[in-house]
């Protein structure tokens, strides 16, 4: 079996964080953070394949962390899922403006989250494939 893909998850609510961890840990290597700043540090440290960020967090919120990660050339390519409790259109808009790739509304279904994660990895794979094909041409 190939190396597990790495995912960084950030949420200030311990039980939500653990729920995310328990949902993903069977298939992925999960790293946790409890606010935006920690999340950025963790991302720089482990270079994950995916990041899941809660919106409302102390210190630095998920949208700000998302922006910074996307600004950084080394981490810009990492897909980000925004986790929002509000599910409001404004939040979703702000999420995409910050460069998020997808969003999941809380409360989430672990199965749906897993599907979403896999879907994103599929997309990334497809993209890579296309880019390589282009190179070869």
């Amino acid at each position: 079996m190939a190396d597990k893909k790495k995912i960084v998850v950030a949420d200030d609510e311990p039980f939500i964080l653990s729920a995310l961890q328990d949902t993903l840990s069977d298939d992925y290597e999960v790293y946790t953070a409890s606010n935006g700043k920690e999340a950025i540090k963790m991302v720089e440290k482990v270079s994950p394949d995916l990041i899941i960020l809660d919106v409302m967090m102390p210190e630095m919120d998920g949208l700000e962390a998302c922006k910074q990660i996307k600004k950084n050339k080394e981490t810009a390519a990492i897909p980000i899922i925004i986790l929002t409790a509000k599910g409001q259109i404004t939040d979703i808009e702000k999420g995409f403006k910050s460069g998020a790739d997808a969003y999941v509304v809380k409360p989430f279904s672990p199965a749906r989250l897993l599907e979403k994660v896999e879907e994103i990895f599929e997309k990334v794979k497809m993209r890579k494939k296309i880019i390589e094909e282009k190179k070869n041409m």
């Binding site: 200030d12 609510e13 311990p14 039980f15 939500i16 653990s18 729920a19 995310l20 328990d22 949902t23 069977d26 409890s34 606010n35 409302m56 967090m57 102390p58 210190e59 919120d61 409790a85 509000k86 409001q88 809380k106 409360p107 989430f108 279904s109 672990p110 199965a111």
Partner: protein
């Protein structure tokens, strides 16, 4: 006006000789000079037409040419009974007062310029009179402007003056006559003069007629005299005034039209002299029989007003048995014409008075109604909670009220008549007024304004004011300050956002773990740990829903009820501590409580709610961790508990508000943490129910200490 036959032809007396025109012109001159007005007297027959007296520069320039003189002294003025105002030249209105002498009407013209100057008229006048326009205009501008009512007063004064001069003239004439003519002649002149004066001074008709008749009796040396008036409805004559020995009896009698000498004269409108009644079949004996008076001779003449016979005047029995002469008919006719004028005047005055009274009472009523209406509107305006501003077509303020004064910093007395643009600087106000004035449509808008340094939101309605012809006359605007409502709206929606967030936060792990338990294979230990999380988060959800229910109970006024039991407060704190101690790895909770404490009466669950709330806040608002100190001490009859954290603290701006419902800290850092803003208000409420209280001390960035107390003995 009855046509008065020339006395002069018969008597050789010309009233134009009697009236000393030179004396009058002298008086007129002086008055015109002193008062700065113009005076002119014209008799109805045009025989007397005084030189206009006018001493202003304007008149002097105007009459400096022949043409100007012509303009200022018109020969044939058309003046009739109804004429009250007449224009002689330019735009000077002459008030036309009337007086009577010798049965002649005199029109006394008193002129004052009572309008503001009109250059166009002066231009025309200067061309007609062939005088210099600029000079005339300059003089014209210096003319005094009098209001109409003053003019009439002035005219009355001139009329009095004129009468005085006439009186003097007549007396002078009498003196002249006394030297050459018979006494009889003098008496007649005096009687006429007297009648003339009485007519112009008395408004009581009966008294007036009586005076006239008495002087007739005296002059003609008659035993009795009477005035009959025609009752046109019954076609009868009745005694209006009677003099002589049988005065009272005579008054009860009515004559048929055509009955007796009086009836005949009334019917034919011709004067009649009956030297011996016993020989004249027209004489009605009935009257004599009823009054026990013996009539021998009669002179009877008609009383005519505007050529219509309204009654008769008769004189009976020459004293000493002589007979009346034909010249005495003329004298009586002259007297009758004076009497007719008196009657006409009286009727006119009565009519005018009646009309004036009616108008006056109507006006009074209208004024009262108007002032009631005005008062009503005024009190509505002033007691309104909304600001009202009304403007006219030119956007000048016409109405403001108390609230508007406060809201726009306007003083009504100063603002009325001022342009609205001087007071409302925000463009939207003016735009809205413009739209309404142009389109006549009602507009509504929310306007943000800066009022004494603070932004306010005003809900505004602008409506057109139109007259009965639907023409726009202005616009009225009503403003309501909805700043607080807006703020409340904002707080409400923020609260709903927070509540939905707060509800979803525990719901997320509940849904996630329950689903994980369904889809994953796991050992019993894992199942138990998942179930424990679900349980904990369910409790959290329950507590939150409990808070919301508490809040709605407090909000609806139902309040919360306490179920009291004896509780060891130290024990209670320990219980809550147990549930918290392992909740966070970053925080260390340090207890300082006495080993033993008295049991006190309180609501156990609600007090747990208080402690839980304060502790979870301490954890929540110190995200970087730190110590949390819980201490309890008994002081006198109270128990004091404090919860201290080393977290972010509370800013000075937020500190006074944290116990207010829905209040959420304004600092960005706190906003990110979330919360409903109802925890602390409920804590405060519960403590107050226990006769206790809560206070907070905090330094931003260093942490907060919440200290509450409850009495050991609760008084409910």
């Amino acid at each position: 006006m009855a046509e008065v036959k020339e006395i002069t032809n018969n008597k050789g007396i010309d009233y134009t000789n009697v009236f000393n025109i030179k004396v009058w012109e002298g008086v007129q001159y002086k008055f015109a000079k002193v008062l700065g007005i113009a005076i002119k007297v014209i008799s109805e027959d045009g025989k007397i037409n005084t030189q206009e007296s006018n001493f202003n520069e304007f008149y002097r320039i105007l009459t400096s040419t022949e043409k100007g003189k012509e303009i200022c002294n018109p020969k044939n003025l058309e003046i009739n009974d109804e004429t009250r105002f007449i224009r002689l030249y330019g735009d000077c209105d002459y008030y036309c007062a009337k007086t009577y002498f010798y049965g002649r009407k005199f029109n006394i013209l008193v002129g004052i310029r009572e309008k503001k100057y009109d250059e166009k008229i002066v231009k025309e006048l200067s061309e007609k009179a062939e005088v210099d326009y600029d000079k005339l205009l300059a003089a014209y501008k210096t003319l005094t402007v009098f209001p109409e009512e003053k003019l009439i007063n002035l005219a009355d004064l001139i009329v009095d003056l004129f009468n005085m001069v006439i009186e003097l003239s007549v007396q002078e004439y009498i003196t002249q006559l006394a030297n050459k003519q018979k006494e009889e002649e003098i008496a007649k002149m005096s009687a006429l003069m007297e009648a003339s004066i009485v007519i112009n001074s008395t408004r009581n008709l009966k008294q007036l007629l009586k005076i006239i008749m008495q002087s007739a009796e005296k002059v003609m040396q008659a035993e009795a005299s009477s005035v009959f008036l025609i009752d046109s409805e019954k076609n009868e004559l009745y005694f209006e005034v009677a003099t002589g020995p049988k005065e009272e009896e005579v008054k009860k009698i009515r004559l048929k039209m055509g009955e007796g000498v009086a009836g005949w004269v009334a019917y034919t409108g011709e004067s009649l002299l009956v030297p011996d009644v016993s020989k004249d079949p027209r004489f009605a004996k009935r009257v004599d029989e009823q009054t026990h008076f013996i009539t021998r001779s009669i002179i009877c003449v008609p009383l005519k007003v505007r050529n219509q016979t309204i009654g008769v005047v008769q004189v009976l029995n020459k004293i000493g048995g002589g007979t009346f002469t034909k010249t005495e008919i003329k004298f009586l006719e002259a007297l009758a014409s004076q009497a007719a004028i008196a009657i006409e005047n009286t009727n006119l005055y009565e009519h005018l008075e009646e009309r004036a009274e009616q108008l006056n009472s109507e006006l009074k009523e209208a004024m009262v109604n108007l002032s009631i209406e005005k008062g009503r509107i005024e009190s509505i305006l002033q007691s309104m909670e909304d600001a009202v501003l009304a403007v006219d077509k030119e956007k000048k303020i016409v109405i403001t009220n108390r609230v508007a004064e406060r809201l726009f910093n306007v003083k009504t007395e100063e603002a009325i008549g001022q342009s609205i643009e001087n007071y409302l600087k925000t463009k939207e106000f003016i735009d809205n007024f413009n739209i309404v004035l142009e389109t006549k449509n009602i507009t509504k808008s929310e306007i943000k304004v800066n009022i004494s340094g603070k932004e306010h939101v005003l809900a505004a309605v602008f409506a057109p004011i139109t007259d009965e012809k639907r023409q726009i006359q202005g616009s009225v605007a009503v403003f309501r300050d909805i700043t607080d409502i807006k703020e409340l709206d904002k707080m409400k929606s923020e609260f709903l956002n927070m509540v939905s967030h707060e509800l979803r936060t525990p719901l997320t792990p509940i849904q996630a773990y329950s689903e994980l338990m369904m889809i994953k294979k796991m050992d019993e230990q894992k199942v138990k740990s998942y179930a424990a999380i679900i349980n904990k988060e369910t409790q959290r959800l329950g507590a939150l829903i409990g808070d919301l229910l508490d809040l709605s109970r407090i909000e609806s006024g139902k309040g919360l009820s306490l179920s009291l039991e004896e509780v060891d407060f130290g024990e209670l704190i320990r219980t809550v501590y147990e549930t918290f101690k392992s909740a966070s790895e970053k925080h260390k909770i340090i207890l300082t409580i006495p080993e033993k404490s008295e049991k006190i009466l309180l609501d156990r669950n609600k007090m747990i709610q208080v402690l839980t709330n304060l502790l979870s806040n301490a954890v929540k608002y110190s995200p970087d961790g730190g110590n949390i100190y819980i201490s309890m001490e008994e002081k006198e009859d109270r128990i004091y508990v404090s919860v201290k954290d080393e977290g972010m603290g509370i800013s000075k701006e937020d500190l006074p508000h944290i116990f207010e419902k829905f209040y959420r800290a304004k600092t960005e850092q706190v906003k990110k943490i979330g919360g409903t803003g109802i925890g602390l208000p409920i804590v405060k409420y519960i403590l107050e129910l226990h006769n206790g209280g809560i206070d907070v001390q905090s330094e931003y960035g260093k942490g907060s200490t919440f200290t509450f107390y409850i009495p050991k003995k609760i008084n409910l």
